[in-house]
Symmetry: C2
Subunit: 152 residues, 2 copies
């Protein structure tokens, strides 16, 4: 068992968990008290950041440990919880690469972050090309279908 | 304050933390008891997975909260802990996209994972193209220099 602390909070207009249409959402991540502008000094030299956060509203009894149909859609195969990115997962961790709009003081403005208002952030990392796949990414058809309207 | 539990453990030949030369390391992630093969059912349809883990050997007094020179190299600018990917970070979370070699029972074989032997894993997610940057990734020169031998 390990403990993690909130290092920041997401603020945006998405008040409730919804599956799709994250494309227009702009978020600001405000660092917790105790973190100053020096904690993100130089971040604006990167175009993208990875935001690690918690799906904090998922109750214990919704967490999946085995397999299920993504979004409970039986058109798609039953796959393990670690073979999908749904929120009802052990440890409730989300990790998304977002586009950095600007960093100002202890606030970070991003687009393309699929986290709702008041989401606790537990880490922020700059995206480097060397940490992205350098071979073709292959994925099953169901995941491509699932993502169709995600960033619309 | 939130708690997270180990969902798996990394096993490989890298016994101590070293900065570079991760290229040849092949790792197996063994899921904890309580997770069966169903937790990763269908994972092998993906070419890459994101592994979220803990830099468990970093002591409290080494954690950085402000800025420092990456790898303490003064040739590179002082940047905030959230503007670098070093291990001495709040919450000690690592997140790396690795290449899936195979998934077998409750074991996942990967290459390109920069985690040492016995690292606790706290989440595994499949990589989907839609979660990768769809615009050019820009990063400062120091980060490109730092990564030069990382995957050698």
């Amino acid at each position: 068992m390990f403990t993690v602390k909130r290092i920041g909070t997401v603020f945006n207009d998405r008040k409730e968990a919804e599956d799709d249409y994250w494309g227009s959402i702009v978020s600001v991540i405000e660092l917790e008290d105790g973190f100053g502008a020096d904690a993100i000094e130089g971040l604006d030299a990167f175009s993208h950041i990875e935001v690690i956060y918690l799906f904090h509203l998922v109750p214990d009894d919704k967490v999946q440990y085995g397999s299920r149909h993504p979004r409970n859609n039986t058109d798609w195969p039953k796959v393990g919880i670690f073979a999908q990115r749904g929120k009802n997962r052990p440890n409730r961790i989300g990790a998304t690469i977002a586009k950095l709009v600007k960093a100002e003081g202890s606030k970070i403005y991003v687009s393309g972050l699929d986290a709702i208002d008041h989401t606790p952030v537990i880490d922020i990392k700059p995206v480097m090309k060397e940490f992205l796949p350098n071979e073709e990414v292959k994925q099953p058809a169901w995941s491509t279908e699932l993502m169709k309207d995600y960033w619309e």
